[in-house]
Symmetry: D2
Subunit: 371 residues, 4 copies
């Protein structure tokens, strides 16, 4: 199904940009998991718009209402406990301006799903604000991922991400073999989720420049997972790579994915890329490098799991673009109005963490059982 | 499940490198599809070892026996017809040398799944020749993909791939907006599946150099699909990108995937990356460029579908490597013997085409129905 | 997943008896399906409580709010059109009396899931009103099924059901070979869904007698489907029988299922049970009887599809019952208070139709494709 | 998929009655499970034809060849150990008489899937011996179920079945609350799988009478499971009932299923059907009766799990039947030749046990995890 992810848990996302509400149903969370709702809200805030100069000003009242599946912990304020039933959370779309969507139905925006949706849904799709394709649908994903993230942290599993590149500006990658929890969680604490303040300045300047040019810019997000047990995942089509891949391409604007050295492996020799093993003093085996990104044969090896995602530039730009009027059957110049993020990458960082959390927990339940 | 792929059809792969046989069960192929077995054999030959100087000399009697699901066409030699029941094909492992696998159980090969399999399967895994993780399992994948490929071609859908890079040597990418069927199928007709003979020479030289150094080398494969209807795929987690991604990471040694501009999109502005639309003289709409790789919002737009895969260097190298003796609990130097492809990329090209064919057909059945 | 059904569409049900809301997400309804919301409301009313003397008096404000997936038809009042995105409908639980649930946590009600839920969810389950096990969860099922039912009717496929038995009192079964649309839809138009008014009186008397005895009573529901194309379903585990079976056992209190002659087949000879074929004057083939219930080898044969469900007596009875106090660790007599349906069968009739509609449409999409 | 069953393990069955071979792929069996191949063979023998006077004389060389997934235990003859890779077993169809199948293509046999297959597969189906619909496909199911059964027995879970009815003749049902392992496994040790020798005689006489009349007869099989932990299964659509139901309707000729009291519940009062709880001396809770058949709310309660299946009379009878010639477009009398079981029930008993074993183990892995 299109808007569902997971084997052991199922996260089912619903809603359109301008429907009455959006939300998620999470089926399969075992009973008894305690969720700190304030912490979950704080995680969701990392994705919320209006956080910095570069994101849209649309106010989203992104406080989810819990319809089912979580009961209040009577002993602790702001804590809820899963009861084993599917969890449904709804976020209202309060800021639905009526607007004129006639143009949207006639003139597909380049880089958006307008034309493909028109073909697939024969004109019945909800075009308002991109409908079900809207980036707004990542809010319930952050709810689900933020919730699962707390469960993972109780098991000592941490997920973090940072911006590695915006246009030409980059910052250092994670140290793949020596990644620490502090390094991993650093960017998530910042308004602009890069680790190095100076590099962050340079990246922000690139975004600002694009904005001034009525344009947008893309980037690369690097994500890491620490504390994973070795032995997660499976050979062939159900490996850790396959499952993460299936999920992260569900994040709007993601166009590439690589694990460990990824595309860099194409330039390497086997003697460079293979990660040699050494015996620790305690008798444990470890790899001395981590070009594999923590996965061999689809199965985690206990090293940090590391991957990178290519994010394309925001499709909505103020600059005039060539398009067509499907009704009139003629070429048209399109000028998109309104406020749009000139770079979606910073807000995508928590979404990447959220989707990764869902994947990782889903894989963990392969081993732990679903209860 | 680990060794299964597909929603509408299910391809289930079984076997280990040195088990009695390997094979695939393909459930869901509609009845009445005619399969030219000679053509299928020729496709499988493209993957077979010993085809050129760079591949292993192990002879594989890769002629599959059809156990079920296909009936002979009484009117045409070498043609079989699907009867609607699951198709099972078995390839015997004739070349099983008994060998001494004791070392394999003790000393995990860097870059292989030996250690992760040991952890996951608690020592019960089949270590001979890599067991279920062996590249040999791509033979039944080529059977399944080659079969499906014929069905797709009858619908005017063509899949091709070529080597874009081996180490530092590259050749031109496909023209993403103007790709022709001839360009697409060119490399598949050659012993070394690159389009440009001069560039092929340079790439082969890189492989030979690695071989002489008792080492290996990686590369990049580019794959294209022509003739796809617009409207295939779905939003979010069931998009064309997600489904291809889930499948291709099942090919051994794949560590990266990008669609269209992919990681290059990180460097681009929206005004560059967006593909503008124009109205054709016949009233049809087309994009004038194809940075999206044929997919917008998870749904095909009728342009060529294009993606690239990063393939890591062959993990088996003759050079001595650092490893550990798990039984003795001490560091060990490991020397892998035998013949191994110094570069897996050429033989992976038909495998990429095969897995892509399975994915594309599976998506097509979303629309066509399963019968 | 526990609260999901369907292969081509996914109906995901959420909520507990006393959570803020209950509802369903329906993913996979093709775009462009027109839904008459008044007709849907009328179908849901058939299940609503308080309809006759025998059902509970709890008022359920069962008017679902559409959060997503349906857009208003601008040309017709009370009509909505699917837009291809997941449809989410929410029903508020307005009548949540706080109540004292301490006893419910301690003393499991015989015949209910209280004890099994306690074991499975380790005491974290929502015990109020039966939580996620409540019959109230059939309301969103009726929403989903009622919606799908309209789509089926546009294709000429009709689903109906009637009460065949309450305790010792029965009415005639459908004529399996000669079932008409009028016969099929008759019971659904009545307050008490049996076809024969006299038999209905007798059945109601049995229910009233049970109620007077502070007891409850079970029954049998017969369901028929007309207008199904031949060729739906599949052999072995994906047959029409398997898929209906998997779904209908999701209706609370269902403990048995039989197709066509069902258990009666055990008494028959092959020469009696086999349905002979005859050639119609128009060259079409039909069976002259329908002991198979419209399904052979898991595949529909174009005859009416007919099955029957055994529904156990309502577990909640006013009579004192033996149970245990799990906290005190001692035997206890349990007296359940409040109003409970002395017979759940009448209200289960539309639920059976709803779940059947979901199944049938899901199978139909196998052939039609998901768009 | 049609010929696959299971969520945590996937059993994929392939083959037609007269294809080169039939078999099963079992994906997901954890590594390290020891399988006694002799014991497995003995279990498969219970289903083999020619065992008693009432079954067909076709000799099936039903010794499966293990192609993958099991390695020999070097310390014990006839023991194999799962290695974590998919297990593939193949049974050759040695007794393929060429025969004349022209009539089979033209004249559909009443009670068989001939006509529905013709419609679904447009004439491309394999008609020889019923093709993929043949009861012969239950042999690989017995392989898979027999293998899994050994794993369950190591966990103290036992599955047994017996014939409760053949035509008018019955024997006692299991004692639902007091079922012992001895009772449960008794029938499986006999040539004719009923518990009571006198009742078995009576049933055999009914079969013999049907045979003499060139006819066939149906029956009822009762199946029990002992040793199940409480807490298996889930609410709504993923309950123990749903999963067993989905699977057992995959057994050819099954037309009805009931759990516990099943259809008998329709006649009962709640005060009779509810199973009261009592506290044991050791502080454990037990039900004093078992009308629920061991399942409440879709979840096992630790009591014996009990269900019954209605099996229709063998469709192949020697008596002349009315059918049509589809090619000539006219009515025809059909006389089926050859040897056919006049009653399929005795050979179906181990098949029921096998399919139940697959289901139960699949549910158990929900809790244990897949490793």
């Amino acid at each position: 199904m299109s808007s569902m992810i997971g084997d052991n848990i199922k996260v089912s996302v619903f809603g359109q940009s301008h429907s009455a509400g959006i939300g998620a149903v999470i089926d399969g969370i075992p009973a008894g998991e305690h969720i700190d709702m304030e912490k979950l809200g704080a995680f969701m805030q990392r994705r919320a718009p209006g956080r910095n100069a570069y994101s849209t000003k649309r106010r989203e009242g992104d406080v989810p209402e819990i319809l089912s599946g979580l009961l209040p912990d009577e002993t602790k304020e702001s804590v809820m406990i899963s009861c084993g039933a599917p969890i449904c959370a709804v976020i209202r779309n309060t800021d639905q301006r009526s607007g004129d969507y006639d143009e949207l139905k006639r003139i597909p925006r380049p880089g958006h799903a307008d034309l493909t949706a028109e073909i697939k849904y024969h004109g019945f799709q909800d075009v308002r604000g991109g409908g079900h394709f809207s980036g707004r649908l990542t809010a319930p994903l952050c709810f689900a991922g933020g919730l699962v993230r707390q469960i993972l942290e109780r098991r000592g599993i941490y997920i973090g991400a940072h911006i590695e590149r915006i246009g030409p500006e980059t910052e250092n990658r994670y140290d793949p073999a020596g990644l620490t929890k502090e390094d991993l969680l650093l960017a998530g604490k910042k308004d602009f989720p890069a680790n190095d303040p100076l590099r962050a300045e340079a990246m922000m300047a690139v975004i600002e420049e694009a904005r001034m040019d009525q344009d947008s810019v893309g980037g690369i997000i690097e994500c890491g997972v620490l504390g994973l047990p070795a032995g997660l995942g499976n050979p062939m089509f159900d490996g850790a790579e396959n499952r993460i891949a299936e999920a992260v391409f569900g994040i709007p604007a993601v166009k590439g994915l690589e694990f460990g050295e990824g595309f860099g492996a194409a330039f390497m020799r086997g003697s460079q890329h293979n990660d040699p093993y050494r015996m620790g003093e305690d008798g444990s085996i470890h790899a001395v490098s981590n070009h594999a990104g923590g996965i061999l044969g689809g199965i985690t090896n206990g090293m940090p799991l590391i991957f990178r995602l290519a994010v394309k530039p925001t499709a909505s730009i103020l600059k005039a673009q060539d398009s067509v009027d499907m009704k009139a059957g003629e070429n048209r110049e399109l000028c998109i109005k309104g406020r749009h993020d000139p770079c979606i990458v910073p807000r995508a960082v928590p979404v990447v963490e959220a989707v990764t959390a869902i994947c990782i927990y889903d894989m963990l339940l392969d081993i732990e059982g679903r209860g």
